[in-house]
């Protein structure tokens, strides 16, 4: 049993505990890329949510008096072959692409964190089984599988199925990283202490291990956003991604691709917005990784 002594020993005045949040905030402000990225992303988000509202046209509404027409006061970004307003389509598509990117990143990072941490913490058979599942998922040609299942993306809320499937094929690499970190964290004193006090394993994982790698997870989730957006664009280009009546940037780009030389506005606006979006997200993710990862200091560019 421990005995509690009443007399408190003389403790030298400790320096104020480092405030991690403040520290991170300072580093982020110093990392210009992150700020620029966030500003662009906020502007794009505003654009995506305000655009369809202020536009006088509906997403699938056709203006038969203006087929494949250039920029005009009526159609700010021009119209496509069937008279649909490119401005409305692009902003609505941007909205969906943003949502898809965020949701996929959220789901897949959560999966990666849980699977990687459990594999690393328990080791042995659990580790073998989970690592093997990750390896199998890496081998499966995800593009083929998403394409086969594409007919389930049709209809109301079908894009949510696409989100889940995209997430199901993008957690593996992060989970391997989480596993490696967990193995090294497992032997730390505070984890041992928690274990000897009888804290159940799943609580140790969620309370002590995962919070300790939160910076890595946040940076990785950001990168995942851009990966998901790019993946969705690729599928939609072949008509295997988001299905009508839903619309995403990939769908708009696919529609416009064949007019890229004859009617550039159909292709240029959605493509430029997509590249800008991915660029902004990558800037944030990359800057975050540098700011949060102490070993990456030398890589600052």
């Amino acid at each position: 049993m421990t005995t509690v002594t009443e007399t408190t020993p003389e403790v030298p005045a400790a320096p104020p505990a480092p405030n991690r949040l403040k520290d991170i905030a300072r580093q982020l402000i110093e990392t210009r890329r992150v700020i620029v990225g966030i500003v662009i992303l906020v502007l794009l988000t505003l654009f995506a949510f305000i655009g369809p509202v202020i536009s006088p046209w509906g997403v699938s509404e056709r203006d038969y008096t203006a087929l494949l027409e250039g920029l005009s006061p009526d159609h700010w970004f021009g119209t496509n072959r069937t008279g649909q307003d490119i401005f409305t389509q692009t902003t609505a598509g941007l909205q969906k692409s943003l949502l898809i990117g965020l949701l996929v990143a959220l789901i897949s990072t959560a999966m990666a964190a849980v699977i990687g941490a459990f594999a690393g913490y328990f080791g042995g058979l659990t580790d073998k089984a989970l690592t093997w599942i990750a390896d199998l998922a890496l081998v499966l040609p995800s593009f083929v599988i998403l394409a086969i299942l594409s007919r389930h993306f049709v209809g109301n809320g079908g894009w949510l199925i696409l989100v889940i499937l995209l997430a199901a094929f993008s957690w593996m690499v992060t989970s391997k990283m989480v596993r490696g970190l967990t193995i090294s964290l497992r032997e730390r004193e505070y984890i041992h202490a928690a274990r000897f006090m009888g804290v159940p394993s799943h609580k140790i994982i969620f309370r002590h291990i995962l919070p300790n790698m939160s910076s890595l997870l946040i940076a990785d989730a950001t990168i995942m956003v851009s990966t998901a957006i790019i993946g969705e664009t690729a599928l939609s280009y072949f008509g295997l991604g988001v299905q009508s009546p839903d619309i995403s940037l990939g769908v708009v780009i696919a529609d416009g691709a064949s007019f890229a030389t004859t009617a550039p506005w159909v292709f240029v606006f959605p493509t430029a917005l997509l590249v800008l979006l991915v660029l902004a997200v990558n800037m944030i993710g990359d800057g975050l990784r540098d700011a949060l990862d102490p070993t990456a200091k030398s890589r600052r560019s």
Binding site: L138, P141, I148, V275
Partner: protein, 326 residues
């Protein structure tokens, strides 16, 4: 080392088998070959449709397990079944696989070699103009989907051809239709057609590698062993090549395995956009034709290429890192 590689190889064979089976089962349950026949004009009577489906082992009224066993028995003897038009999948596959492999191999070698060289050099020249240009360029390219790169390069090629008044850059097909000539001219014609699609694939790969290699190189540049190597009398160049680059290549090799899958699916868009009749274009066409056996065969091919890339990186890893060999 032999034992290490043998164990990996066995693991890969099992993974390929599972991946292909999984793809077959998914395709067999989700694609609808029946609809393909029923939509024919004029619509054939149901008995004919059933007979057709039975002869192709595609009938959804046969239990899935039975269809799978028939199919896997064929695959184990090298027969991937018939496509929905009754053609032999295996025979077609080798032709299309050749197209894709030519595209991927050249692009991989070109893209990764350039990427590693430029990334490593950028790290050595950290914060100089070269480093800033290379890092900025690769960052920008990484933010553009392969589809968009492929389309933009095609549009640029059209503009350049129009501007020059003759076809400097070919952007459709693998070779000119009806081209006649000796072996040398045929090769030249093919290379001429391959320039743009290879460029598209290599560009994305180059960006990823340049970025990754720069980071890895920066991590080892200030390491003790590089300083020791120089202290014991090696020139800076030799120390960087023999000690720093060699060590920095090890994580890049692992990274290569992860990017290869993206490259294989990236080749799908490139083939489709540039009119190459490879595996990727075949996959897209067969999904719209509800062609189960072709989809399964393409999955097998993709799994094999990814596994081959992993195996290659295992060998390179063992060569670079002596610790693995024991």
């Amino acid at each position: 080392m032999g034992k290490f590689l043998a164990r990996r190889l066995l693991n890969y064979v099992v993974l390929i088998f599972l991946a292909t089976s999984f793809a077959y089962l998914l395709a067999a349950t989700n694609l609808q070959p029946r609809v393909y026949f029923e939509q024919m004009q004029p619509p054939p009577p149901p008995e004919v449709v059933n007979a057709q489906l039975d002869s192709l082992n595609l009938n959804d009224q046969t239990p899935l397990a039975e269809r799978y066993v028939t199919w896997i028995k064929g695959v184990l003897t090298g027969d991937f079944g018939k496509n929905i038009q009754g053609g032999d999948v295996s025979a077609q596959m080798w032709m299309k696989a050749g197209v894709t492999l030519r595209l991927i191999t050249v692009a991989t070698i070109l893209g990764s070699a350039l990427g590693i060289a430029i990334g490593a050099y950028a790290a050595v020249r950290q914060y100089r103009a070269f480093d800033k240009a290379a890092t900025g360029a690769s960052f920008f390219v990484l933010s553009i989907p392969t589809v968009v790169i492929a389309i933009v390069i095609q549009v640029l090629a059209v503009a350049i051809n129009d501007g020059l008044g003759f076809t400097l850059l070919k952007y459709v097909g693998e070779y000119s239709a009806g081209f006649q000539g000796n072996a040398w001219e045929t090769l030249l014609n093919r290379v001429h057609h391959a320039i743009l699609p290879t460029l598209v694939l290599a560009l994305a790969l180059f960006a990823a590698f340049a970025r990754y290699q720069r980071n890895m190189m920066l991590d080892v540049l200030n390491a003790d062993f590089v300083r020791t190597a120089m202290a014991k009398g090696l020139t800076r160049r030799r120390a960087l090549f023999k000690h720093a680059l060699r060590t920095a290549l090890i994580p890049t090799i692992t990274y290569f395995t992860f990017t290869f899958g993206a490259l294989v699916s990236g080749s799908t868009f490139t083939e489709k956009i540039y009119g190459w009749h490879g595996m990727g274009a075949w996959l897209i066409d067969s999904i719209s034709r509800q062609d189960v056996h072709v989809v399964a065969a393409v999955s097998w091919f993709m799994a094999i290429t990814i596994m081959a890339a992993s195996f290659l990186s295992d060998i390179l890893y063992a060569w670079l890192d002596p610790r693995v060999r024991v």
